[in-house]
C-alpha cells in the first residue's frame, strides 16, 4: 500500500519538517450534520482524521470520549450514518485520509466482510479496532489489506520486545504507539522524553513504518513530542465539543480553533 493516502500524508508532513497531525472525533457528535461539518472544517489543519464509531461499553476510553460517544448514540447515530458521513466528507476532500476507530463488537454485528466492503465503498483509508489485538487480528487485518484498507496495529508501553517485532512485521503503513498506561483522556504521566525513547525503539525496527503517538496529548504537551511521525489528539477535541455545547457556542468554530492551535504548535 505504498502510495496509500495515509503514506502520502506522512510524506507531505515530513517534507514540511513536522509531524502529521491526527485528530479524533466521534461520528455523530453531537449530530450527524455537525460532526460532518466539524470534520470538514478541521481537515484544513489536520493531516489525517480519525473518526470514532461510538460504542456504549468502551472499555479503553476515558470520560471525554465516553461523553462524546454516549451523546452520539443518544442522538441516534447508526453505523450506516457513519459510512455516509465518510462518503460525504470524501466528496468534499478526497485527499484527506479517514481512519475509523472503534470496538470489535460493532464490526462483528455488522459482519466483518460487509463492514470492510462498506469501508471500501465509502473510501475509508484505515481502521483501528481497540479490542482486537495481535495476533487475534491477523485474519481481519489481511482482509483489510486485500481491500486496500490500512489496518492499524497498536503498541503500548507494556508490549514486549518479541511481540513488538511480530506486530511490526504484520503492520501496514501506520502504527499507533500508546504513550502510557492509560485509557484515552488521561493526563500525560510519562515524560515526553521517555515517550520519544520508546517511540524510537519502534522506529529502529523498521524505519519505513509511520509511527504515531497518541493518548494524553494536548495543546500543552504536543510540542514536546514533535519528533514523532505523527501525533493524535482526541480527548482534548472531544472536551472542546462538550464545552462548546454547554456554553451554547459554535462547536465547529471552537473545535477548529483548537485544531489550528495544535497545528501551529508543531509547525
Amino acid at each position: 500500500m505504498n502510495n496509500s493516502l495515509i503514506n502520502q500524508s506522512f510524506k507531505k508532513a515530513k517534507k514540511e519538517n513536522r509531524p502529521a497531525l491526527l485528530t479524533y472525533t466521534v461520528a455523530g457528535d453531537n449530530t450527524k450534520k455537525k460532526s460532518l461539518e466539524i470534520l470538514k472544517s478541521i481537515s484544513k489543519y489536520a493531516d489525517i482524521c480519525e473518526l470514532g464509531f461510538p460504542h456504549n461499553t468502551p472499555i479503553a476510553d476515558g470520560g471525554q470520549i465516553q461523553t462524546s460517544a454516549y451523546r452520539a448514540i443518544k442522538n441516534g447515530v447508526k453505523i450506516n450514518d457513519i459510512f455516509s458521513i465518510v462518503s460525504k466528507f470524501k466528496k468534499f476532500r478526497k485527499d484527506k485520509p479517514i481512519i475509523l476507530m472503534g470496538y470489535y463488537n460493532m464490526i462483528y454485528q455488522y459482519n466483518e466482510n460487509k463492514f470492510i466492503k462498506k469501508c471500501k465503498k465509502s473510501k475509508v483509508d484505515g481502521l483501528i479496532v481497540v479490542d482486537l489485538p495481535h495476533p487475534e487480528n491477523k485474519i481481519f487485518a489481511s482482509k483489510c489489506k486485500k481491500n486496500k484498507i490500512n489496518f492499524i496495529q497498536l503498541i503500548s508501553p507494556t508490549t514486549s520486545k518479541l511481540r513488538l517485532k511480530k506486530i511490526i512485521k504484520d503492520s501496514h503503513d501506520m502504527i499507533y504507539y500508546i504513550s502510557m498506561l492509560s485509557t484515552t483522556g488521561g493526563k500525560l504521566k510519562v515524560s515526553p522524553k521517555r515517550i520519544i525513547q520508546e517511540y524510537q525503539k519502534i522506529k529502529k525496527q523498521n524505519k519505513s513504518k509511520n509511527v504515531v503517538i497518541g493518548f494524553g496529548i494536548t495543546e500543552k504537551t504536543i510540542k514536546l513530542l514533535k519528533k514523532a511521525d505523527g501525533l493524535v489528539v482526541g480527548s482534548a477535541i472531544c472536551k472542546e465539543i462538550t464545552k462548546s455545547i454547554k456554553k451554547r457556542q459554535n462547536t465547529v468554530i471552537n473545535v477548529t480553533n483548537v485544531v489550528r492551535k495544535l497545528k501551529n504548535k508543531i509547525k
Partner: protein, 409 residues
C-alpha cells in the same frame, strides 16, 4: 461442537481462548496483553504447585469454611409433593456467598505476583465484600467498582466493604449497574496494571479470568460429590442441579464435577433473571436467545441491539443484572449439556416467600431465582428425583428490597 470428558471445562478452550471455537477469547486492548499473559502464566504455574493447592485448601477449610452443608428441605418438599428438594447451603461460607472462593484465590495470586493493590467489580456487593475481606486478610489495598444504583440497593454489603477498609468507587455511567462497574474496573486496570491486580467477580471477562474463577468455585461441587455419596451411599439416579446464572460462577462451581455425567442422570438447570413480568427488559441472554457479541473482553451471548450496542437490563437481583454471561455457559448451552431458563422478579420474590416460610433458610434474591424453578418443576417430578438448589447467597443484603416489596424482612 462437543464437550470432552475428563478435562475440566475451564481447560477445554483452543489456543486463542475460545470454547467451542467461538465463545470466550481475549478481546483486550494492547496494554492489557502483557498483564493478562503474565497472569495466565502465573496461574498456570501455581495451579500445578502442590504448595499452592495446599494453601488454597487450607484457606478454603479454615477461612472460607468448608464444607458448606447439604440439607434436605423436608417441609418444602412435602408441601410441594413430587421431587425431593435439597439445598447446598453455600451461603454459610465466610461472608455469606460463593464469591469468597474466587476472591480468596485472587488474593493469593496477587500476593504470589508481588502486587500490593487489588481491584474488583461488584453488582450485588458480594464479590466486592469478599474481595475486601480477602484483601484485608492478606494485607492488600483494595478498590471496588460498583454501579451507583447497586450501591443504593445493596447497602449492607457496601457497609461491610467500607468496614474492611476498601474504597468503593461509584460508577455513574450507563445504567449504573454491574455492566458499568466491570467496564470501569477494566479501565482502571488499563491505567494501573503495572502495580495492580484485577479480580473479575464472575466467570466472565478475558479467558484467564473465566478460568481462575471457575477453578475457585469448583470447590462447591467437589464438596457436593462427597456429600451425595455420604448421604445416599452412591450418587442417586435422577438428579437435577439448579443454579441461578448471572455471570455463571456459582453455577459452574456447582456443576463442574458433574458435567461428564449423562444429562438424563444429572441434569443441569441454569436460571437467569427474567426481570419484572411487565417489562421488556431482562438479564437473560441464554434463555431469551440473545445473539453472540463481545462484552468485557469475551465473546458470549449478550443482550444487545442490531448495531452491537449493549442493551439495558433490568432485574430485582443486582447479582444477576448483567447483559452478558460466561462463555462456558454458552458452550454448555450449545452442546445441550445444560438447560437454561429464567424466573421473573415476581417469581423470585414468591419463591423467597415460600422458602422462608417453610425452611430455616434465607436465600438472597439471586438463588431465589433458582428456587423459583425448583418450586415450579418439583410437583411434576417423581419422589426419587433429587432436586438440588445452590443456595449461594444470604438475603441480608436484600433487606431493603424485601421490606419494600414484601412489606417485611
Amino acid at each position: 461442537m462437543k464437550l470432552k470428558k475428563n478435562i475440566p471445562l475451564i481447560d477445554q478452550h483452543d489456543k486463542f481462548g475460545f470454547w467451542g471455537g467461538k465463545f470466550g477469547g481475549s478481546f483486550i486492548p494492547e496494554t492489557l496483553k502483557k498483564p493478562v499473559e503474565d497472569l495466565t502464566k502465573e496461574f498456570h504455574k501455581l495451579r500445578k504447585k502442590r504448595n499452592f493447592i495446599k494453601k488454597r485448601d487450607f484457606y478454603f477449610k479454615n477461612y472460607v469454611g468448608s464444607p458448606t452443608s447439604f440439607i434436605k428441605l423436608e417441609n418444602l418438599s412435602s408441601h410441594l409433593g413430587g421431587a425431593q428438594i435439597w439445598a447446598k447451603v453455600v451461603s454459610e461460607a465466610n461472608g455469606g456467598a460463593h464469591k469468597i472462593y474466587n476472591a480468596t484465590v485472587h488474593a493469593l495470586i496477587c500476593k504470589a505476583m508481588g502486587k500490593k493493590y487489588i481491584v474488583g467489580d461488584t453488582g450485588a456487593g458480594y464479590a466486592g465484600k469478599m474481595l475486601s475481606m480477602a484483601a484485608k486478610k492478606f494485607g492488600l489495598k483494595c478498590k471496588i467498582f460498583m454501579g451507583a444504583k447497586d450501591i443504593k440497593r445493596q447497602k449492607p454489603n457496601c457497609d461491610a466493604m467500607r468496614r474492611n477498609g476498601a474504597e468503593i468507587v461509584p460508577v455513574y455511567s450507563g445504567s449504573q449497574t454491574l455492566v458499568d462497574a466491570v467496564s470501569e474496573c477494566m479501565r482502571y486496570w488499563v491505567s494501573n496494571c503495572d502495580n495492580t491486580h484485577m479480580c473479575v467477580g464472575s466467570t466472565v471477562g478475558p479467558n484467564i479470568f473465566v478460568k481462575i474463577c471457575g477453578w475457585s468455585t469448583a470447590q462447591i461441587s467437589r464438596e457436593l460429590k462427597i456429600q451425595l455419596k455420604k448421604e445416599f451411599k452412591k450418587i442417586p439416579k435422577k438428579i437435577k442441579l439448579i443454579n441461578c446464572v448471572g455471570g455463571g460462577s456459582s453455577a459452574y462451581g456447582f456443576w463442574s464435577e458433574f458435567i461428564d455425567y449423562d444429562k438424563k442422570h444429572i441434569e443441569l438447570i441454569g436460571v437467569e433473571a427474567g426481570g419484572p413480568k411487565k417489562s421488556k427488559l431482562h438479564a437473560a441472554p441464554l434463555s431469551r436467545n440473545a445473539k453472540i457479541g463481545i462484552l468485557h473482553g469475551a465473546a458470549s451471548y449478550v443482550c444487545q441491539n442490531n448495531e452491537g450496542q449493549i442493551q439495558d437490563t433490568e432485574s430485582i437481583s443486582a447479582g444477576l443484572d448483567y447483559p452478558g454471561v460466561s462463555p462456558i455457559h454458552c458452550f454448555l448451552k450449545d452442546t445441550k449439556r445444560a438447560r437454561y431458563t429464567y424466573a421473573t422478579d415476581e417469581a423470585a420474590l414468591n419463591a423467597y416467600k415460600m422458602v422462608t416460610k417453610f425452611e430455616k433458610l434465607n436465600p438472597s434474591l439471586e438463588p431465589s431465582h433458582a428456587f423459583a424453578e425448583a418450586i415450579k418443576i418439583a410437583p411434576k417430578l417423581s419422589k426419587d428425583t433429587i432436586l438440588i438448589v445452590n443456595s449461594c447467597g444470604d438475603a441480608k443484603k436484600d433487606r431493603d428490597i424485601l421490606k419494600d416489596r414484601l412489606g417485611k424482612y
